[in-house]
């Protein structure tokens, strides 16, 4: 599916925002198979000035859970004109404790307000004993954590009344307690809960390098038919105690060539899927970020053309 491209840069000056009703209720439902970027406050005005340039925007849910103010003002205006993905970072689905009911309730309110085309969270944990640790922490892949993660995803999907996408993590350590591979674990979670997969190709590459595995083989072992969105991002390079490369999922640089190559391989397997360029540190100006998204968009268009769809 392609969306009409809005070309007038002045159309958003008026209160009615989007001309042509490109994103009326009927158009909502799933993210378009186009490229998007993470929404950053410093880009709010640029985005309103250039509607249609990108296929969608993604926000971190927790950044829009304040009572009011400019964050909601801008997101409301941008959402009127663009498909939206809400990406949670604080639900701690991989945690050993029950989900935070208050946080789940906040998510429900946020999703009801903005009606995003997609909601995703991480295969990770971030909260323990009431303390929020502000990182996506790894878990052992065993039967107990599999049951717990599935229970949590069931609870989320029930509470939110929608299917969620689960993102594969970038990890730096493994656990002696793990009894299954990450790909097998994710495959089983998807099978048991019916959730979709947010395939982070950068995370897959980072984890494969960090754990001495082949990234392409890891991707091939994932349930790619469940992919509802793809993330691409840049990593930083460190070294472990043996001098082996230790890649850090930093979101602070452009997408690496190795990740672009893996991305193309994934698209060849599954066809065009909504793809996000994630950038959270050293964020460039909007034009630079949009240009990087344009590279993904070009690949998506080529893929769509090869499957006989017309590209705008």
């Amino acid at each position: 599916m392609t969306l009409p491209i809005e070309t007038s840069s002045s159309s958003l000056r008026s209160e009615s925002a989007c001309r042509g009703g490109a994103l009326g209720p009927a158009a909502r439902g799933h993210l378009p198979a186009r490229a998007g970027v993470g929404l950053k406050p410093q880009h709010f005005q640029d985005i309103l000035d250039s509607p249609g340039e990108l296929g969608f925007f993604e926000v971190h849910a927790e950044n829009y859970m304040g009572a009011g103010g400019p964050m909601h003002h801008w997101l409301t205006r941008i959402r009127e004109c663009h498909p939206l993905s809400v990406h949670g970072v604080g639900l701690s689905i991989g945690g050993q404790e029950p989900l935070d009911a208050a946080h789940l309730a906040r998510l429900r309110i946020l999703l009801a307000r903005y009606e995003p085309e997609a909601f995703s969270e991480h295969l990770a944990w971030s909260t323990h004993a009431g303390a929020y640790l502000a990182d996506l922490l790894p878990l052992a892949y065993d039967g107990r954590s599999l049951r717990r993660v599935c229970e949590h995803i069931d609870e989320v999907q029930m509470a939110l009344g929608r299917r969620m996408l689960l993102e594969n993590p970038a990890t730096y350590v493994e656990f002696a307690d793990s009894t299954m591979s990450e790909a097998d674990f994710i495959t089983e979670v998807v099978r048991r809960t019916g959730c979709g997969l947010l395939l982070d190709v950068n995370n897959a590459y980072v984890s494969a390098v960090n754990h001495g595995c082949d990234a392409a083989a890891f991707l091939a072992a994932l349930p790619l038919e469940a992919v509802g969105e793809i993330h691409l991002a840049g990593f930083a390079v460190d070294r472990d105690a043996a001098g082996e490369p230790l890649l850090i999922d930093s979101h602070g640089s452009p997408v690496a060539d190795a990740v672009w190559t893996l991305y193309e391989e994934v698209l060849q397997r599954i066809g065009p899927v909504a793809t996000l360029i994630e950038r959270d540190h050293d964020v460039p100006d909007f034009a630079t970020l949009a240009a990087e998204a344009g590279r993904a968009e070009a690949l998506l268009c080529r893929m769509a053309a090869s499957t006989a769809e017309v590209c705008a």
């Binding site: 009011g68 004993a129 990182d135 001495g212 472990d240």
Partner: protein, 255 residues
């Protein structure tokens, strides 16, 4: 202790050993790998505090601020994934942080910056407009019993230091060298449109606005503010209305 409890404890405290059961494909000591998580947590949270308290950081320098933030976050990790709420108890911590005593106005600057952050995310609500208050002036006898509340995005800080001038000098308003940090000032923080403003209140204005925030009557607030002989009720009320610092009337309750 569960696996995650051990992991969490070692994340926040570098003196706690790396949790047992971590492995790496090449058999190396997992310490360096675990350190990525430690660094992520510390960098993220000190970054949040630095973003939320920028002038506080400028007053003591980045190195001092980060060291202070690390001590704070180990004792007070966030209790919620809403990081714009993180730092509520940072000003009180700064006030008690011995090495910061040489900057006596540091805690008040942190209080002011916290109020700015709270204002940014406060609920949207109508303000008390001049037209709303005109009918009330028709009944002067009822005015002292009137309860005027501050707008949800408005707050007041009474300081023994020149917090507004210091804050302004770090934002290109006035010269820092000309600020007497020991001159008491009261700040009004508000968000008239999409941006948060910081205003210096006239004499007695801090007492007056703080009394209104505590939901006293107009008469009581004016009487309290009159402890400052320069207090001018009309000037202060006009200022609060002009800047949209008062919330819409809930009722014209009288005593």
């Amino acid at each position: 202790m569960t696996a995650h409890a051990a992991f969490a404890a070692a994340l926040l405290d570098p003196d706690v050993a790396v949790p047992a059961g971590l492995t790496a494909w090449n058999g190396v000591d997992p310490m360096r790998r675990f350190a990525v998580y430690r660094n992520n947590v510390t960098t993220a949270l000190t970054g949040v505090l630095a973003d939320s308290f920028p002038v506080t950081q400028q007053l003591v320098g980045e190195d001092f601020f980060c060291a202070m933030a690390r001590v704070f976050l180990r004792a007070h990790p966030p209790r919620s994934p809403l990081l714009h709420e993180y730092g509520h108890d940072f000003p009180a911590f700064v006030a008690q942080f011995e090495p910061a005593r040489q900057v006596p106005y540091l805690a008040d600057m942190a209080r002011l910056e916290w109020l700015r952050l709270a204002s940014l995310h406060a609920a949207d609500a109508p303000v008390l407009a001049a037209d709303d208050i005109a009918p009330l002036l028709a009944d002067p006898a009822a005015l002292p019993g009137l309860r005027l509340a501050l707008h949800p995005a408005a707050a007041v800080l009474q300081s023994a230091h020149a917090v507004v001038s210091l804050w302004g000098a770090h934002h290109g308003v006035g010269a820092l060298a000309e600020v007497d940090p020991y001159a008491a000032e009261s700040a009004l923080v508000l968000r008239p449109m999409l941006e948060v403003l910081v205003l210096r209140l006239p004499p007695g204005g801090g007492i007056f606005a703080a009394a209104l925030a505590a939901e006293t009557t107009l008469g009581e607030a004016a009487a309290a503010a009159s402890a400052d002989p320069s207090f001018d009720l009309a000037e202060n009320l006009a200022l609060l209305i002009r800047h949209g610092a008062l919330g819409a009337l809930r009722s014209s309750a009288r005593n």
